[in-house]
């Protein structure tokens, strides 16, 4: 016993000395569904980098789910230090409803607080039997298009915006033609899943549909997982530039004493190291040097900023909101289906 206490007496001051120089932090990153693999890799790199630089250890926990549901859980009190969601709209709601971050959150970090971008592409069956090349092929009669419901799926809103991006190129500001085009594509949708992973399941496992509209990174992951002999990726001429936003949940981080490390974490996502990991995971880097390095990996595609399509908030309120334009279009499709 005496021996034990003398050892303890020798170790204890040492332990205190050690803890005085190195802090231990815990971060909770609340994210959306398809980023699971991406953030696992990023977190590992960040932890190592941070310990080397400051001597502090960081443990990062992740939470994944539908982007809207994840935002909801933060509003309802999930102790997130950092949110990395699919849509600016979801973080905007955390700001508006729970006031957990400042109003100008989106201008606090570069590139509208979006460290890496993505876009929307097509996944078709091997050999592309329906010869699908661009968005207008999706509107042809008899083609079956798989995309989730934009009301329940954040990713599906970008799919919708992709249609708008092409319509803008083709029809300019002609609202009536744009609307008819959107309607023609959604009339070709036999299954309207609630989320992106459900839609992938419908296309891959149930073998329904000729084309799946998907996140670029999800499309590459699906081809990687199921093999290039079953699916092919088709890059349309135009698509939407998706900027999944990130933010420090200021109020939570202040309470946890993690404000500095949370900001370091977000800032680190913009470094070339992090950007390379993102590119390896099929997210489009925003850093110019990494962009050049991976230019060949990502196909040649004209990307339209969602702000040029009216902006996310406006589309959300006018098109995807309950009783909005999308609801009306579906009602008309249903009415014409019955006749």
């Amino acid at each position: 016993m005496k021996k034990f206490s003398s050892i303890a007496a020798a170790i204890l001051p040492l332990a205190f000395a050690f803890s005085a120089s190195a802090a231990e932090y815990e971060l909770l990153n609340v994210s959306y569904d398809p980023t699971r693999e991406l953030y696992q890799e990023l977190n590992k790199s960040f932890t190592a980098w941070y310990e080397k630089k400051t001597g502090d250890t960081v443990t990062i926990s992740q939470s994944h789910g539908g982007s809207g549901a994840q935002a909801r859980s933060v509003i309802d009190g999930s102790p997130a230090d950092v949110v990395t969601l699919a849509l600016p709209w979801d973080i905007e709601n955390i700001q508006k409803q729970a006031k957990l971050l400042p109003e100008n959150w989106q201008s606090l970090k570069p590139n509208e607080s979006s460290p890496f971008n993505s876009t929307i592409v097509f996944l078709v069956r091997k050999g592309n039997p329906q010869n699908i090349k661009d968005w207008d092929d999706l509107a042809k009669p008899g083609i079956k298009v798989i995309t989730p419901n934009p009301k329940t799926s954040g990713g599906a809103r970008y799919n919708y915006a992709g249609i708008l991006a092409y319509a803008k190129e083709k029809f300019g500001d002609d609202q009536a033609k744009t609307r008819d085009f959107v309607k023609a594509i959604y009339a070709n949708v036999p299954v309207l899943d609630t989320g992106a992973r459900g839609a992938t399941n419908t296309f891959v496992k149930r073998r329904i549909g000729d084309v799946l509209i998907a996140w670029e990174n999800e499309a590459y992951l699906t081809v990687k997982r199921f093999g290039a002999d079953t699916f092919e990726i088709v890059i349309p001429s135009v698509s939407v530039l998706a900027k999944p936003p990130v933010a420090v949940v200021e109020k939570n981080a202040k309470e946890h004493g993690t404000e500095k490390v949370a900001n370091d974490y977000i800032d680190w996502l913009y470094t070339d190291d992090a950007q390379k990991i993102a590119a390896e995971n099929f997210y489009r880097p925003t850093s110019d040097t990494v962009k050049k390095e991976y230019a060949e990996k990502f196909g040649n595609i004209k990307l339209v900023d969602i702000n040029d399509l009216g902006g996310f908030n406006k589309l959300q309120q006018e098109v995807w909101a309950d009783g909005g334009e999308f609801d009306k279009i579906l009602k008309e499709i249903n009415a014409s289906r019955d006749n």
Binding site: N93, N149, V191, T194, G195, W320, D322, L330, N334
Partner: protein, 277 residues
Amino acid sequence: MKFKSFSVIPGFGWTLGLGAGYFSVLVLLPFAALIAYGCGIRPSAFAKALGDGEILSALGLSLRASLVAGLINLVFGFILAWSIERYSFPGKRLLDSLIDIPFALPTAVAGVSISFLLSDDGYIGKIVNSLGFSLSGSDFTGITFALVFVGIPFVVRTLQPVIKRLDASTEEAAEMLGASPLQTFLRVTLPPLIPPALTGFSLAFARAVGEYGSVIFVSSNLPFKSQILPVVIVGKIESHNYDAAVVTALIMLAISAGILGVISFIRKWSSRNEKTV
């Protein structure tokens, strides 16, 4: 009225308080919060929801599929419970323990495997295709299939103990007194089984009305056509339209409560009938 009666476990006040408190926190409180939220919504929102074609078609589909699934479960759950309790056969205990699988399996997993089974490449889909039909376009079949799956344990588990307690000698007596096998079944065996069968049916029905996880993978989820009500509610929550979500939930709750009330009335009526005979 006398509340207190003899009990081997002392402390009536404590146990009742604990039980009621437990139930209040876990069930009544969330329910009350929903009602309270609903009270703050303008009545026009309810009128609007009742006039919304999307909500009405989803409500109709939810109720129809749940009732059909409940009825299928009632018939096959009865047969299953009967054969497990009345006969002995190899694998009986294994079958008995497998009944609970739908309770334990995450419903999303069930949904994915059912959707695959029914697809044109799936085991069931292939057989049906060879008969000249395709299930991939029939959402009602798929949704009902999933709802039958999640509801089957309720009917079996409520019927089993009652079938076990049935006294075989009353059946023998009926036969000795000259009743035909059909008469014996209808007038002696069946009556005491009706109340538990109805209980099982209403549990399976209620479970089916609220089911979400498996149906979203099986159904094509097209508004006006193949959306169940929980999907509509989730859609409203995702568009941050909580008022409409709560209104829809309350309408669904009221209708389900009405149907359950009717079933429970029939159950009471049939069990009272039984006592007087």
